[in-house]
């Protein structure tokens, strides 16, 4: 065999293999990239939704790939320059996360599909509003609209002599003191996942700074170093973490923290409406209740999760058809309480909901304004520094007085 013949043979074989490899996928094979789901009920619901959609739409198959939060973000970034990425991808709807991909041109504007499927007729206004954040078209459809509030262990509250949930920040602090006196840590947090403790800091900022100042700080238009409410917030964070949080907490994650909450080791947990499903899976619905964070600003701590159609999708029509099915009255009604306590579909009827989900419905009905999580408000690099400073203050490595100053130094250097 000559070299030429050997090389020709090898390259021919490679070409055939490549052709076979690329020839197996059909144009209507949809790749859906989303997060890993914690609750088995949600996993099961998604399998059923995909199965039912495929049965109704022969020729379209949906392949779901689940990843943890950080892996999902990294995978999307890698896929940004490839044709092997998803047709539909999950992302938080805020400007800090979903917005990065939209602004980079990786989301397909869905105006025509909004018109074709009349999504606005069925979507709740607040959930759908995030699709209008960008110039040049509407991006993504809402999957969930989540509120975050304080879950509490009813028996532990009773044991500490707390008759009713607090309605002001001062009452919350007083109740934490009562719990402490009864030997009960007020909160459990998982410090190793930075965003968990961040929620406490976000809530404190809202209560100490008020809505406008808080928004200005998160938009980096106010100075963290000189703003007294920022310093006061870091002092409060230190107080909560040192005196009213189940310790140690910096080395555990959110799921470990939830186990401690279920084990009655702490009285409260700052979580979203999705926790109802996990509490239900644990068979403990009767033991817990939930109340809004008493920040005094009448704004709900909340965020939206969206599904976006990739601008690189070769099957955008099929992708839109799947999203239409996901948003349909039928699916949203059937999986109410599984996907979220409140549906993004305004046609959904809320009959026979359990007590915790009903509490969430009451909370959603009460609020008209919202404030978002810090990691959705800041750019990614500032979020990372925000996490670091929060953890440093909570663990005592940075004095609370220097928390705002440290963050501002980073913001100024990276503007």
């Amino acid at each position: 065999m000559t070299i030429r013949k050997a090389l020709t043979g090898t390259f021919s074989a490679l070409a055939v293999m490549a052709a076979l490899g690329t020839g197996t996928a059909s144009a209507d094979d949809l790749k859906l990239w989303t997060l890993s789901f914690d609750s088995p009920t949600v996993v099961s619901a998604w399998k059923d939704i995909i199965k039912a959609f495929e049965a109704k739409n022969p020729g379209i198959t949906v392949m779901m790939e689940n990843r943890s939060t950080d892996e999902h973000k990294a995978a999307l970034r890698v896929a940004a320059r490839s044709d092997q990425g998803p047709d539909i991808y999950f992302m938080w709807a805020g400007l800090g996360l979903g917005g990065e991909f939209v602004n980079a041109g990786l989301s397909k504007p869905l105006d025509s599909y909004y018109a074709q499927y009349k999504w606005d007729d069925r979507l709740s206004a607040i959930a759908g509003s995030y699709s209008k954040l960008y110039p040049g078209g509407r991006h993504g459809v809402p999957y969930t609209f989540h509120g975050e509030a304080l879950y509490y262990n009813k028996a532990l509250f009773t044991k500490a002599g707390i008759a009713a949930p607090p309605t002001t920040y001062a009452e919350l602090k007083a109740d934490a003191a009562k719990l402490k006196a009864a030997g009960i840590p007020a909160f459990t947090f998982g410090g190793s996942v930075n965003w968990h403790l961040m929620r406490l800091m976000d809530a404190i900022l809202e209560s100490q700074c008020g809505a406008d100042k808080h928004d200005a700080l998160k938009a980096m238009k106010a100075d963290w170093a000189s703003e007294p409410c920022a310093t006061a917030s870091f002092k409060e964070l230190k107080d909560w973490s040192a005196n009213y949080t189940l310790s140690p907490f910096m080395g555990i994650d959110q799921s470990q923290s939830f186990k401690l909450f279920l084990a009655n080791r702490a009285a409260m947990m700052l979580e979203g409406d999705w926790l109802v499903g996990q509490i239900r899976d644990a068979g403990r619905l009767a033991d817990f209740d939930v109340f809004p964070i008493p920040t005094g600003t009448d704004r709900l701590y909340s965020f939206a999760e969206y599904y976006y159609v990739s601008s690189k999708s070769k099957a955008p029509d099929a992708a839109a058809k799947f999203l239409d099915y996901l948003l349909s009255d039928e699916v949203q009604q059937k999986y109410l309480g599984v996907i979220g306590s409140i549906s993004v579909n305004a046609h959904v009827k809320y009959d026979n909901v359990d007590a915790l989900n009903q509490r969430w419905l009451d909370i959603f009905a009460k609020y008209t304004k919202t404030f978002v999580n810090g990691d959705q408000a800041f750019p990614l690099n500032v979020t990372t520094e925000y996490f670091r400073v929060i953890n440093e203050v909570a663990s005592g490595s940075i004095a609370p007085e220097n928390g705002g100053k440290t963050l501002q130094i980073f913001i100024s250097a990276n503007k």
Partner: protein
Amino acid sequence: MAKAFPSLRPQTQGYLLIAPALAVYALFAVYPMLNVVWMSFSAWNGLSPTSRFVGVANYRAVLTSDPVFWGALTNTVYWTALAVIVPNVVAFGLALALNQNLPGRSGLRVIFYLPVIIASIAVATIWKWMYDPFFGLFSNLLTTWGLTDFIGDWLGDRRIALWSVFAAYVWQTVGFAMVLFLAGLQNVSTTLVEAARIDGAGRWDVFRHVTLPAMKPTITVVFVLSLINSLKAFDIIYGMTGGGPAQSTQMLAMWAYTQSMQLGDFGKGAAISVILLVVTLAIVIPYLRWMQTQSEASK
């Protein structure tokens, strides 16, 4: 092969044979490395189609205004210094012990080697569970023994978190070095050992003047491998602490990954990677040259 290309010179045939491997190496190792160097002088968020040349701005930012970089560099230096000593000393001791005619020797070798074949992320998960301050193995054992005061926030206290991870790293890597040392010990001439004993050498003298010199090539290989592996330590730390608490267990390799893949600042991530590469070469090349000099001097 010689019959297939009878007209070619042996050197040409040699180059021809290594050409495929060289092509793969160039494509998957050399090109990415050069690309990273180029990227370190660029600004790119990983999403836009083009990057922008920014000169040394990324290096300046990393060295002067990155609040995590110097801590990550310090951690990397401490980690590396200990990683080339602690696991290898333990491994050398184990190899010497398991080179003796012990009952159950093969089984013990397997037991000590077993952690090496477990994926790092699985090792991280196992140790993370053992370190859980509420439900973990260590906390339960200490509680059972009445030593609750010693229960620590193993992965949450910045004073001990890095070393808690290091303990898991030692557990995971000792077996690999042990196998290399065991292989090296098979090359120690029994004739020389016996001759030394006949000359009246004690155990220590035999070890010092016969075993150790014969093990020099193996020690060099183990040293270089553990040096490189420790400098690029990533997965076990990522799995156990993610660099926390408050970036206190951050390492250069992981910080480069974080900058690039999580924060989307590929330029800064590449700059950190290049700095790590320079640090690695600055340590490895002089050491290899010194070993080569020693080897030539002893001939």
